[in-house]
């Protein structure tokens, strides 16, 4: 065998393997391209076109869709700020509940495995089904909550009849549903920190809180950032909870961009406006993620 032949052969092998690699990727990439790229392009185009629910894009370009959502006070002063309120509310409360939950579940005790399983369980349950159960619990006539209140002689209200009670309930269900994922993420983060540090910084004693802030929190920061970004994306885009509990009612007072979009498209035959709302929600998330990740980067530096 001549000495030069070996590297040459491995060079062609490398080329061949690179080709095999691309070939292996191709089917997955093809499906992703169709299911992601086409709808995104089509959503953007629709938002600046005349679109009919029954016939699709019929002409354009037009600013009509944007004008009608941006001139609609119900959207600008209702749905949009409410969506932010819902997202920020759910995400911040979730983090606030999940941090202690993760710390509690991190400790060593008998039955820890079972405790973890029970707390994380709701993650596996379909959201619409959880939401149906909560809807029953808060039902005005038959619900568990009002049934219990009645035993104390209190006539509970119809919880989902008004935004002032329905919105907090929605947020509560959102938090309840987000806790498992967040807790498990934070648990993973805590595992990464290592038992000895945690032991040293355990919450016992008077300055437990200080130690938590000084030692654990900074170490947990990267995972916390991930939990915040992912939760924000999930909660912002959340559909089943609101859809099952109130469908955005009464009088759109519990709508978020997502449920409003869905109704515009499939109930009120305004696909153009729905698509414009889709673009809005996408832009909001993009801006948020970019801003937050930059902030997080600066933070760690």
């Amino acid at each position: 065998m001549p000495p030069v032949a070996a590297p040459l052969a491995s060079e062609t092998l490398r080329h061949r393997e690179a080709r095999v690699g691309l070939l292996c990727l191709a089917p997955a990439v093809a499906l992703l391209a169709i299911v992601f790229l086409y709808p995104i392009v089509s959503t953007l185009l629709d938002s600046v076109s005349h679109v009919s629910a029954l016939a699709g894009r019929t002409g354009g370009p037009t600013a009509k869709n944007w004008q009608s959502i941006l001139s609609d006070p119900a959207f600008l002063r209702g749905t949009l700020p409410r969506t932010l309120f819902w997202t920020i509310g759910v995400v911040s409360l979730t983090i606030l509940c999940s941090l202690p939950a993760a710390l509690l579940l991190q400790e060593r005790f008998k039955g820890r495995k079972l405790a973890r399983t029970l707390v994380l369980l709701p993650w596996a349950v379909p959201l619409p089904i959880s939401a149906i159960i909560w809807k029953f619990i808060f039902n005005g006539q038959l619900g568990t909550l009002n049934g219990l209140l009645a035993q104390f002689g209190i006539a509970g209200p119809v919880w989902l009849a008004e935004a002032k009670t329905a919105l907090p309930i929605m947020i509560w269900v959102g938090v309840w549903a987000s806790i498992p994922f967040t807790t498990v993420t934070l648990l993973a983060g805590l595992q990464g920190i290592g038992a000895d540090i945690l032991e040293a910084a355990s919450l016992d004693g008077a300055n437990g809180w200080l130690r938590f802030r000084a030692i654990i929190l900074p170490l947990l920061r990267p995972v916390l950032n991930v939990a915040i970004v992912l939760n924000t994306i999930y909660v912002f885009n959340s559909f089943p909870i609101i859809w099952v509990l109130t469908q955005g009612g009464p009088a759109n007072s519990t709508d978020t961009i997502i449920t409003s979009l869905y109704k515009q498209a499939f109930r009120f035959s305004q696909p153009g406006q729905a698509q414009a709302m889709g673009v809005v929600s996408f832009v909001v998330l993009l801006v948020f993620s970019a801003w937050y990740l930059r902030l997080a980067e600066k933070d760690t530096q």
């Binding site: 993650w123 993973a188 869905y262």
Partner: protein, 268 residues
Amino acid sequence: MLALVLRRLALLVLIAVMGAPFIVMCLTALKPSIEIATHPLLPATWVWDNLLAPWRDKLPLFFRNSLLLATGTTLLNLLLALPAAYALARLPTPGKKLWRQALIATQMFSPVVVVVSLYRLASSARLVDSLAGLILVNTAYSLAFAIWLLTAYLAAVPDEIEEAAMVDGCSRLSAFWRVLLPVARPGVVTTIVFVFIGAWNEFVIALTFLSSEQNKPLTVGLHDYASAYSPQWNLLMAAALWAIVPVIALFAFIEKHLAEGLTAGAVK
């Protein structure tokens, strides 16, 4: 000591709150209809037959559809994700970094934002109101995650193991099949469970795409029943109980891998 008691107490409260809806679900499922309004917690008469009632109704149909949907999604997903993950983990594929970033980018999207366009795409391909269309969309939305997870597991297998197999005369394919995959099995199992649960739980696409009752999975079937005029809550809860049994079982099965699974795409 006091702190310890408080912490255990807090843990109990946490567990109670997270489990409360499921307790309500079970208790309501076992009540006769007339007790729903009068007995908020324990039934006075336990009606175990309520648990069987949904099986005499539409539950078998919805259950079968959910099963087909989740299994189909899982299989198609593996079929596409395994080669892709192999390419990213173990082959000198060009543009690896770019591909990975593109995969993360897809995680930003929720199907509900582009549901109108997805619907139109599916209908132009005549895939509306069919499980096949749902399987494709579900697969696409879980594919990035699956590739990511599998890549991490496949990359963790030491090169020597695969090389040893190939020196022994295995082709790349059979080395992958006989050596790599068994070593990375926990990862494959975790991926399967995640994708399966995700497809089992999917709601908005199924709600939008499907109109025939024949095709509806549990999530949509139960939602329709709950939003019908006067749902019989006890039977609805019984059906809900059955609907969550498979995912809970799977969940318990991979619980110990859950953390790495959930965070694999995120932390890296």
